[in-house]
């Protein structure tokens, strides 16, 4: 008899389960060694709590009523539940708070796209540490986690969440026009962006600068290039990234960081540094994160915050592929 399961869900059999558990253990070992204690939160939360985060959490795909008529939702990521946890349980404790997790999250999928409805995330949240030190610490934990997972080729793209809001403001755009252009930037639709900026009356040179910035990614030389465009928003973003870069210091084997002025995250609670993780073995980002200083305030605790989340199944895929390539001697 064949008994189907919903598309985007899956069974895990012992062989893969052992590998996943080993990967989880390696990540937790890194997180704990860096002072991040593991927490668990309920899979179900009040919808009102998840909505408070804004952004993707707003779009929890699975909502239902409990026996007393309360609206519940399945979490779509872990940052908002952890913001709630810290605000509730550590309100009186001295920051910073360091927590880590490996947990399932749930999102709607498009049919026949190979997307997962239920997936595992592994990540950390650092709440209440000063801006640059916090960002740098989170990057260090992420680099150690990627090392522990054996992802020698993984790269961390580091960008600035405020860059384009600033830049378009400097260009005199606001309201719906600015949001429209930001959407194009987030989708990386450069053809549409150019048309949108032209229509808004932005000058030809400024359009060229905006397009060039969105394509600017690389090492420290990218920071110099960004300053060379002569726009204040780009110079400020370059300065902020430079501060992070200096604070990162040197690392054995070098850092995995690539500066990326085209990076945009779709979660609305980010500000300042944002990051995404790529591995040549997987066509999608392995994870991402950044600063979200405004989020804790929405839960009544005015603390800065930073963190990242990795899609565990994608990390596992990358791990297998990198091992295979290593064996092939490439």
């Amino acid at each position: 008899m064949i008994h189907p399961i919903p598309p985007g869900t899956r069974d895990v059999l012992p062989e893969e389960m052992r590998e996943l558990r080993a990967l989880e253990a390696a990540l937790i070992e890194v997180f704990e060694a860096k002072g991040y204690g593991e927490v668990a939160t309920p899979t179900l939360e009040y919808d009102e709590v998840l909505t408070r985060g804004g952004g993707r959490s707003d779009h929890a795909a699975y909502r239902f009523f409990d026996e007393s008529g309360e609206l519940l939702a399945l979490r779509s990521e872990m940052t908002v539940p952890i913001a709630r946890l810290v605000a509730t349980r550590y309100a009186q404790a001295d920051p910073p708070h360091r927590v880590c997790y490996i947990a399932g999250a749930y999102r709607a999928v498009s049919p026949q796209r190979g997307e997962m409805r239920e997936f595992l995330q592994a990540g950390v949240e650092l709440i209440g540490a000063a801006a640059d030190e916090g960002t740098v610490e989170v990057i260090a934990v992420l680099e150690a986690a990627l090392d522990a997972a054996g992802l020698g080729s993984a790269v961390i793209g580091l960008g600035d969440a405020d860059l384009y809001r600033d830049l378009l403001g400097e260009y005199g755009l606001d309201g719906a026009t600015r949001e429209g252009a930001l959407e194009r930037l987030a989708a990386h639709d450069l053809v549409g962006l150019e048309a949108e900026l032209e229509e808004a009356g932005v000058g030809a040179d400024q359009i060229v600068t905006c397009l060039a910035l969105s394509q600017l990614r690389g090492g420290v030389e990218a920071l110099e290039q960004a300053r060379g465009y002569g726009v204040e928003a780009a110079a400020r973003a370059a300065d902020r990234l430079d501060d992070v870069n200096r604070a990162l210091g040197s690392r054995t084997g070098g850092h995995r960081v690539q500066f990326d002025f085209g990076l945009m995250r779709d979660l609305s609670y980010y500000n300042g540094a944002i990051l995404e993780v790529y591995d040549p073995a997987v066509g999608h980002a392995l994870g991402g994160g950044g600063r979200y200083d405004g989020l804790m305030k929405r839960f009544g605790l005015d603390l800065s915050a930073a963190g990242f989340a990795l899609y565990l199944e994608r990390v596992h895929t990358a791990q297998i592929e990198e091992r295979r390539r290593g064996k092939d001697g490439r």
Partner: protein, 213 residues
């Protein structure tokens, strides 16, 4: 699924209406396409520094999104219809220009009263168009020659791609509304765009020059 920072860059080439001009612009960008111009039935071609993978235009976003191809060329109509596939749209190549239109039968004014029934191969583009103009329509998705539908009473009109307008003319149909103009676009996988930045930037620059944009 793997893009890979090593090995040649993989470019998805659309077969069909865009094929010839795609090869021309690639030639202009210094990519050797002579093997693709022969009558080989292969789907994959190795050229100096690049692997060319040929496929239906509507499959290009699928391969590029997954990283099975690092970059690709396809029509804006395809990208609009599959706008839920996150690929980076880097360049308007200018060729393959055609219009997405709403067309109805000549001399018939049935379009516009009550619930309109529209046959199309582009249900999402059509849906967005009618939604944004505040009209309720019943969309009927067909796969083949969509001009047939209104002639035999399957729907009051069609939403389809029109290059010269001859097919419409031959089938006693006329353009009622223009929805959007479409041209060929150069797209990239988002991970490849980060990890193979130099190669992709160089190809983009060459294609920009070759397409005269």
């Amino acid at each position: 699924m793997s893009a890979g920072t090593e090995g040649p860059l993989r470019l998805a080439v659309p077969r069909g209406a865009l094929f010839g001009e795609t090869l021309d612009v690639l030639d202009g960008a210094g990519v050797d396409t002579s093997e693709l111009r022969g009558d080989s039935r292969s789907l994959i071609f190795e050229t100096a520094g690049m692997t060319l993978v040929t496929m239906r235009p509507s499959d290009v976003p699928t391969y590029v999104e997954a990283g099975a191809a690092d970059v690709g060329i396809t029509g804006k109509d395809v990208l609009l219809e599959q706008s839920d596939r996150p690929v980076y749209e880097l360049l308007d190549l200018g060729f393959g220009r055609c219009r997405m239109v709403l067309a109805g039968r000549k001399g018939s004014d049935r379009l516009g009263e009550g619930t309109i029934r529209i046959a199309t191969k582009y249900p999402r583009i059509a849906e967005r168009h009618f939604e944004s103009t505040g009209r309720q329509v019943e969309l009927i998705e067909v796969k083949g020659s969509v001009e047939l539908a209104p002639l035999v009473g399957l729907g009051d009109g069609i939403v389809d791609l029109v290059a010269t307008g001859r097919t419409l003319e031959e089938n006693e149909l006329e353009v009622r509304e223009e929805i959007v103009e479409c041209t060929a676009r150069f797209v990239a996988n988002r991970v490849a765009h980060k990890l193979r930045a130099a190669e992709i930037d160089e190809l983009t620059a060459k294609l920009r020059e070759a397409s005269g944009r």
